[in-house]
Symmetry: C2
Subunit: 331 residues, 2 copies
Amino acid sequence: MISINDVAKKAGVAKSTVSKVLNNYSMISEDTRLKVEKAVEELGYIPNSAAKSLSKKEFNRIGLFIDISCSNQFVDEINMQYLMGAFEKAKEYHNEVITFFSSQFEEMSYREISDFFKSQSINCLIIYNLSLENKKIYKIIEKQEFFCVLVDSSVTNKKTSSVSIDHFQAQYDVAKKTFDENYYINHVLYIAGGPGGYITGQRLDAVKKLRDERCFKLTVQYGDFSEYKARKITQKYASQINAVVCASDIMAIGAVFALTEMDLFRPVCGFDGIRLMGYTQIAMNTVKQDFSRKSRQAFDELKRLLDGETGRHVLVPYEVCKINYADVIQT
Amino acid sequence: MISINDVAKKAGVAKSTVSKVLNNYSMISEDTRLKVEKAVEELGYIPNSAAKSLSKKEFNRIGLFIDISCSNQFVDEINMQYLMGAFEKAKEYHNEVITFFSSQFEEMSYREISDFFKSQSINCLIIYNLSLENKKIYKIIEKQEFFCVLVDSSVTNKKTSSVSIDHFQAQYDVAKKTFDENYYINHVLYIAGGPGGYITGQRLDAVKKLRDERCFKLTVQYGDFSEYKARKITQKYASQINAVVCASDIMAIGAVFALTEMDLFRPVCGFDGIRLMGYTQIAMNTVKQDFSRKSRQAFDELKRLLDGETGRHVLVPYEVCKINYADVIQT
DNA sequence: AAAAATAAAGAAACCGTTTTCCAATGGGCT
DNA sequence: AGCCCATTGGAAAACGGTTTCTTTATTTTT
């Protein structure tokens, strides 16, 4: 491995001079700059990142934490977009990121998880899909030992920011659009995610506001974000209701399939905008989120925190639309 | 930040002794070991990984390279499983991994890519979905500047191993099973991936072997792994053929949808075993691959290379089965 | 022309570990 | 008692950079 000493020797200067050239110090003559650059070029010198981290005392290594406890099938699409957005920014900012899945930490205590991150020189976390049940991670956020950015949450503190869409408005918009497209609606089934939590609360409030405005009967059930459960719930209530609003596309698909099997037509809307929606053969309204963008925004928020600013909650745009097979198949 | 010096001072020993305790050297008395461990505990000491990397001269930082140039929609599921498998092993082996997507390197030359990896102290690469067109990465493999493991390839050299399933046998098995389940087959449409390449070649050979054994007419078309193209091809040949064998599930789905629209029934089989297959409502035969396992195997092969052994091509098991909606929905 | 200011380059310390080598202690042996 | 060896702990060098401080050479000022 070629070190800075080799370069210094070859260029006939001190290694401190080489370092200065490489880090764009001002007090360097054009002459020596050229000499050093030539030597670097000829030797193919690549600085050792471990040594660099050690001597500058800043690491800013970022852990990407993906909670998969609550996530069913087909969220891979979403997670992948999260990751791609994050990796893109990591490269742009020259940050090192390490990815973790919640499944790796099941057996570990809060202290162990925290130490584990520290042992990897991680001082920042970006957290995706955090389940309410994940007390250990909430404790990590609370203790403020790391800079954290939560995706799809509203939690903030001095060292924690959150990014999300406006879940209230989005749920309101998509449900309203769906109702507007259909004749008469007097009983709506709302299949929420898990009870409690920021997202569920916001979305539920939106549906309740619509109920108050339009005076339909509202039945709320918790579907756990699973297709299977949404299917069962829909089967149970299908005959009574005349519209289904779902808190996720997966559940909307479950609802639609259940209805199809019963030979019933009821308007259904989803939430997320995943491509699988195209495969139901029925164009449903949904809230299309740009997951990659949310993830990139999370990175930017992290930078803000590292610059010493206090945590905040930021909103990113969304879009209400239908996803149909024709759109999905077109690469 | 608490360093080894703080621990040494607190325990009343030299820092070299602390290091020895932490790294399980044998020549340490129970007495001092306890003293040191107590100090470590009390101070909450976490070793600095940069310093550790610098001092031991081994990094073994692993780059995960995912080629997305050739991959269409819905391969997220596969890539996610690759990543989860890899991250799991990374934790087990205490390796640092950095993930890259081919899209990040489009503008870069071979030399720049190589330097980029080196600048991140990467000395190993695990490469997924490598497209034949990606000459730059093939050059990296060829130059043997990094230890490489290719997933779904057969390329090997002194510093390169490959892991894959037996594509020939798998394609043979799934096609044979599909043919056996149906009455009379005299003209088969085979929708291959891209022309050339190891996988395509192996699979094509398998279909040709079947043709020779069963004397049907074989039409081969290149579908580019895209649902759209598979659809078009199927539409074109549907009336002439009476079975479709596809080199990927995505293409099989395209074929089935095309046939459904034309109100035709033809047996179709796919390849990969992704869950989306369940959504066609038609139980197709496919080759179920364990992507996470392939990825974990790739890590093990990397270890072998690092131990100085020469590259090799290893096979992992597969399974021929049907994926139907009931299986997919059951969480 | 001498003194002071400035520019450029080098020497050395430092970052937090590991690892090699050396010193001290104590026990067993003759 | 004297010697040797085994055991254990410590001192110091090394890893490859950055940064501070010092030195040298050059220019400006008086």
